[in-house]
């Protein structure tokens, strides 16, 4: 799986180039994301525009990343499709990860 990153000030914008984050790639996804955190990026904004589906393992990986970011870090989401948004809302994780409409809004929330 490919993940690209772009810096916006002190915030790192991350784009996972996959259409689903599920059990089959959760281990790899988590590792790559934690590598980004370990490289010093603890304020992350995820662009989920390509993601159509996320399962429990994908959520688990994201929560692990959130925890790895530490108390001064943060993980925000934007461009979240309805099918993905619904699972965040069902599990109440939408309150943990702020879900934003645009990249600007997500980045601004961390600055």
């Amino acid at each position: 799986m490919k993940i690209s990153t772009v810096k916006r000030g002190s915030v790192c914008v991350v784009i996972p180039h996959v259409n689903k984050i599920d059990a089959s790639i959760a281990v790899e996804f988590k590792k790559k994301m934690i590598d980004i955190v370990n490289a010093g990026e603890s304020r992350l904004v995820l662009n989920l525009q390509e993601v159509d589906f996320i399962d429990s393992s994908g959520l688990g990986a994201l929560v692990s990343v959130y925890k790895s970011a530490g108390p001064n870090g943060a993980v925000k989401l934007f461009h979240v499709k309805d099918s993905v948004r619904s699972i965040f809302e069902l599990t109440r994780l939408d309150k943990v990860f702020g879900i934003h409409v645009s990249e600007e809004g997500a980045v601004e929330s961390l600055e």
């Binding site: 281990v27 988590k30 399962d55 429990s56 393992s57 688990g60 990986a61 929560v63 069902l90 599990t91």
Partner: protein
């Protein structure tokens, strides 16, 4: 259900009933009976009281030890039919007897207690006269005593039902006559409940059916026949855990919508207990060995049940030395949730599934021992509270997996429903 009843005092009515479930407890039941009698005479002398031994027709002298114990109050002996065993069956006999006697307050205490005082009876009964239906004890236990409680029963009760009841499988409880009648008509009774699943079943039913639940300080550490947590678990593990999992399936409508857990009302206060509970020895090497053996034996089941994300972390443990083992609370919670969903779907035959969980429970126990090795009782308790809080945060994983995994029981998941 056939039962054997000996009622030499011809007891027909009783407002307060204390039951002592037993099987092969001839060496300890006399002491417990004596303390119960002292407590009832001292604190409830104006009420009609009876002490009942509910037994599994023990082949030793349990009945003789109970009936032969000198007491001021009447005693009743009730046994299941010869060959019929199970703690739950004893307790069902107690419920039936208590309802027949018209009891308002019912207490049960384990027959192997060595730390019971007359006040325990008072502490378990008094809240019932103040409007509570179910009274759960709080007592100091050694940090390594009650590892099924600490690692599974307590955290899952918090996570699933939103109420912090520290000793949900304590074995010593108080309950109202109203709750006893409700237990007798409850539909969720099954074979596991008839045995060691009874304690967690009573607690879960009391909470989930909306009865008034409280905890009460007992004032002395619990002292009984404690076991090395690495010792053979036998059927107790899968009866208790199987009951928790079965009830999680029955009560999904509760936990899916429960918020953070709340503390339970506490009756009394800490009483300044300074007495240390008796030590429990742990064989760390045996716990690790059991895990590694279990990994080899159950690997195929684990790969079917446990999500790769969690299995990956679990697999790394086999290369660590016993004193370095860590199993984080969030990983442990997600593994339990993987097993609950597999249990719901009967992915594996249920007893086999629960047996496959035991080695992971052992390694989690070892991790807890490592984390708390240098802690006193209070610090270890604070540590466990934080672990439970972390486990509560993982509820999203269960909700997502529960909804996204196609159900095998004919009930469509939300995902299936939306796709149709």
């Amino acid at each position: 259900m056939n039962r054997i009843v000996e009622n030499p005092d011809k007891v027909r009515r009783a407002e307060v009933v204390v039951g002592i479930p037993s099987y092969r407890e001839s060496d300890s039941i006399g002491y417990v009976t004596g303390k119960v009698d002292e407590g009832l005479v001292k604190f409830f002398d104006r009420k009609d009281c009876v002490i009942i031994n509910v037994d599994n027709n023990s082949p030793d002298d349990t009945k003789q030890a109970f009936m032969g114990q000198k007491t001021r109050l009447p005693k009743l002996y009730i046994s299941t039919a010869p060959g019929v065993k199970g703690k739950g069956r004893n307790i069902r006999n107690l419920f039936e007897a208590a309802v027949e006697l018209g009891a308002k307050a019912i207490v049960m205490v384990d027959a192997d207690l060595t730390s019971i005082t007359p006040q325990w009876v008072q502490f378990l009964i008094e809240p019932l006269y103040m409007g509570h239906d179910y009274v759960i004890p709080i007592y100091v236990r050694h940090k390594y005593d009650g590892t099924i409680t600490n690692n599974i029963a307590y955290p899952l009760t918090r996570v699933l039902y939103g109420l912090r009841t520290r000793q949900p499988i304590a074995g010593d409880f108080g309950l109202s006559g109203k709750l006893a009648r409700a237990y007798l008509t409850e539909k969720t009774w099954d074979d596991n409940v008839s045995e060691f699943g009874i304690d967690i079943w009573m607690t879960t039913i009391a909470i989930s059916r909306g009865f008034q639940v409280c905890q009460t300080f007992m004032g002395a550490p619990k002292s009984h026949r404690a076991k090395d947590p690495g010792a053979e678990l036998g059927p107790m593990f899968y009866q208790v855990v199987g009951t928790i999992f079965s009830l999680a399936v029955d009560f999904e409508y509760l936990w899916k919508y429960s918020a953070e857990s709340l503390p339970t009302n506490i009756f009394g206060f800490g009483l300044g207990v300074r007495e240390e509970p008796p030590p429990v020895r742990v064989d760390s090497g045996r716990l690790l060995k059991s895990f590694v053996q279990g990994l080899i034996k159950h690997w195929k089941i684990w790969t079917r049940v446990i999500a790769p994300l969690n299995l990956d972390d679990l697999n790394k443990l086999q290369k660590m030395s016993a004193d370095k083992i860590k199993v984080s609370a969030d990983l442990w919670a997600r593994i339990l949730f993987d097993f609950i969903v597999a249990y719901r779907d009967r992915l594996i035959e249920r007893s086999e599934l629960l047996n496959a969980l035991i080695p992971i429970y052992y390694i989690r126990t070892l991790a807890f021992v490592n984390d708390t090795r240098d802690m006193g009782t209070k610090e270890a308790e604070d540590f466990l509270e934080e672990e439970c809080r972390i486990m509560e945060e993982e509820i999203y994983y269960l909700i997502a997996k529960w909804n996204q995994t196609p159900r095998q029981d004919g009930i469509p998941s939300i995902a299936q429903y939306l796709m149709e």
